[in-house]
Symmetry: C2
Subunit: 221 residues, 2 copies
DNA sequence: AGGCACACGTGAAGC
DNA sequence: TGCTTCACGTGTGCC
């Protein structure tokens, strides 16, 4: 565009101008100004690029196995990672909150694909002193290993979460058998829930013990 | 560079070439090839830009309040959000994992700044049947409300997490009083830990009950 | 080659 | 108005 000028802004070790060729005495000054503006512009743009790339690189540090990855693929990876993190975070917090108004029984199968089969089951209801022993009796008849058990209470409500694995003679890729397990666990927990909530209807004095499971456990009564 | 050719690749509604000016019969074909290559190149580059920008836009959808934000600032926001998510996620999972080898007592004050004062305390040790009643007795002497209680077991280990709030007559901005509370809670839990672990040393048969707290609770012994 | 990904400088549009 | 951000086409190096 500009007549008889070749401005070379080197990216690495700039020797800025190559051929500040004389063009005319008076038009030269305005051209120099325009050139300076152009140089400022390209430098600013370079700083912008550097800013973006710096952030991109710190993202590489945050997401594993992206050290030499494409920009676009890196961003895609960031997206999936972010979604995953959000999901697990809300899942964790979901696991920590206790629904106040509704009793619930949930059973979820986790077919890992590697042949193992696990189950997480949860029961949430008002606290009742018989609850734990009822639960124990109900669960020990099931053909499942208890891997992990959690009890949490908040304001008179109690939530029990269990993680089971099936005995290894149970075929994990037998979808039907797995469904049977899910159903029996669900049924066991539901019957526990029915039993304790029915008992609570008649033994109202127990409700005064609802502040914490620790207030009214088995030994002192 | 190219002599007497002006290739215009319009970004919006491309009428691709403006002036396929005759230049010569034989050099024309090579020039046309070069031009086609150039066009492919710019189109590929455009697709790349679109890929990146699409990912950037989905990131905008993932991070709040970034709808009209700068690319660089958006990425910065993504970074902070991601760090935050990672932190809370590991914090949650930290709360759910149970150290296998070391017993521990932890007490952490949470001064909210709004005048309320809360405490989370945790005790992690081998399961012992007396643990729960010991805990109950130890905690009920403390001038604290139990807001939330969790018990989780995994492989014979048990972790108890409690959230307390202080009675409202305790001045929350009195750092000294808060520290006293922290200390007394810590001391109570430590004494419980000492008691049950000392008992476990002598009553080794109890160790067979360690598979789950549900195996050996209070009612049947 | 020939596709791919990157950095660059530049024109245009928004405050 | 200048300053910033964006999209674009291009040059270049790397499989």
């Amino acid at each position: 565009m500009s007549a008889s000028q070749s401005l070379v802004l080197d990216g690495e070790r700039s020797e800025i101008v190559k051929g500040p060729v004389r063009v005319g005495k008076r038009s030269g000054v305005s051209e120099e100004k325009a050139m300076a503006a152009l140089k400022d512009h390209s430098e600013a743009e370079r700083r912008r690029r550097e800013r973006i790339n710096a952030h991109l690189n710190t993202l590489r540090g945050l997401v594993p196995c992206t050290e030499k990855m494409d920009k676009a693929t890196l961003l895609a990876e960031v997206i999936t990672q972010m979604k995953q993190l959000k999901k697990t975070a809300t899942e964790y917090s979901k696991g920590l909150t206790i629904p106040m108004d509704d009793d619930e029984v949930k059973v979820e199968p986790h077919n890992e694909g590697d042949g193992t089969f696990s189950l997480t089951a949860s029961l949430c209801c008002d606290y009742s002193p018989q609850l734990i022993s009822e639960l124990r009796q109900a669960l020990k008849t099931l053909p499942l290993n208890i891997v992990k058990a959690e009890i949490s209470t908040l304001g008179g409500r109690v939530k029990n979460v269990f993680v089971f694995t099936s005995y290894k003679d149970t075929n994990s890729d037998n979808a039907e058998a797995c469904q049977v397990l899910v159903n029996s666990v669900h049924q066991s927990l539901t019957s526990v829930l029915d039993k304790v909530s029915a008992a609570a209807d008649y033994t109202l004095p127990n409700k005064r013990r609802r502040i914490s499971f620790i207030d009214s456990s088995s030994s002192s009564s």
